[in-house]
Amino acid sequence: MTNNNLDKLQQLLEQATAQPQLQDGLTGEAAKLNEAWTAFVHLVEAAEPAGEPEILRWSMPQSTVTAASRPHRLTLSATAMLAASLLIGIVVAWSYLAGQSDKSSQQPVAIDRQVKPLEKHTATQVAKSQEVNNPKEVASVASRNATTTPKWDDSWDEQVSNMGKDVLYAQHELYAGPDAAGSLQYGIEQMQQEMTGNNL
């Protein structure tokens, strides 16, 4: 189809299928095609319901994110992040403490393995028996023994005893005058005063 024919056909069809108010003076093939077009339009219009179609009651999708729901989502996400970070912290702390306790529980086993070749002697006995022959080895064994043998943690006892000493010193300072030797001397002076005053 040449361009000229194409243009003619396009013009013909545009006239035949134009809006009714734009159709004037159609003749020949254009008029025939327009009759067919008009019949088609009548059929289509008759098939449409007269009332308001369902589509006019269309509403927005409910899943659409609105501005009002945004703060709520932010609060939820912040709470979730806080909970997740707390959980991670607890897990890290737990694993760290578990590692510490594993180390302390594994150390005596390691010492036992080292001590086994020495056959039925404790590290201290070995140190005592070999002290003269090999002082370096004895020192190392003794130091290992000292570091690895579980000790009673008596720092609390030391604190209590120190506190008791402090209380005693404080009492002493309280009862002692500036020129007195102590509470004993103060008591002796009191007794002497009572005796000389015939208070007894």
Binding site: E14, L33, A39, V44, M60, T66, A67
Partner: protein, 176 residues
Amino acid sequence: MAEKRQNCDEELFATWVRAHGRAVRGFLLAMVRRPEVADDLSQEVFCRAWKARARYREEGNARAYLLRIADRVACDHGRRRRPQVNLTDEGWHVHEPADPACEPTGAVVIAEHIEQLTAALDQLSPAQRRVLLLRYYGQMSFAEIAETIECPLNTALSHCRRGLEAMRKLLLEKVS
């Protein structure tokens, strides 16, 4: 800012539904021939248009834009359509109880017209049908129709001419 834009989108969309909802539904009804399917597909057309609203640029012919989507939706529906079993009248009334406000005679008349339209459209090939319906409902130029149905302009014109000739033949048969 976002809320303002949202409101603008909603206003534009409400305008589209009011102005072009009937055309979209009519086009789909003529394509699929079943009112309930046409209603569903109309919803789908507007859902797709809403989702793609960020890509839409106002170029003057929103109806053509919506009809293009409707044409695509109708073609998709035709491709994925499975054999459908019609309900009996009793079963139909269970699922779709009659609307007391609806006049039975009006419904019967419309059903008759739909049958006539269906019979007329059956005389056309699918391509002729699409061209005539897009021309009527979309008020598109033939160049736009050719672009929508993805064919050269002269092919679209030929479909239109042959479709109108088939309609005229049907009209003459009816008169005689």
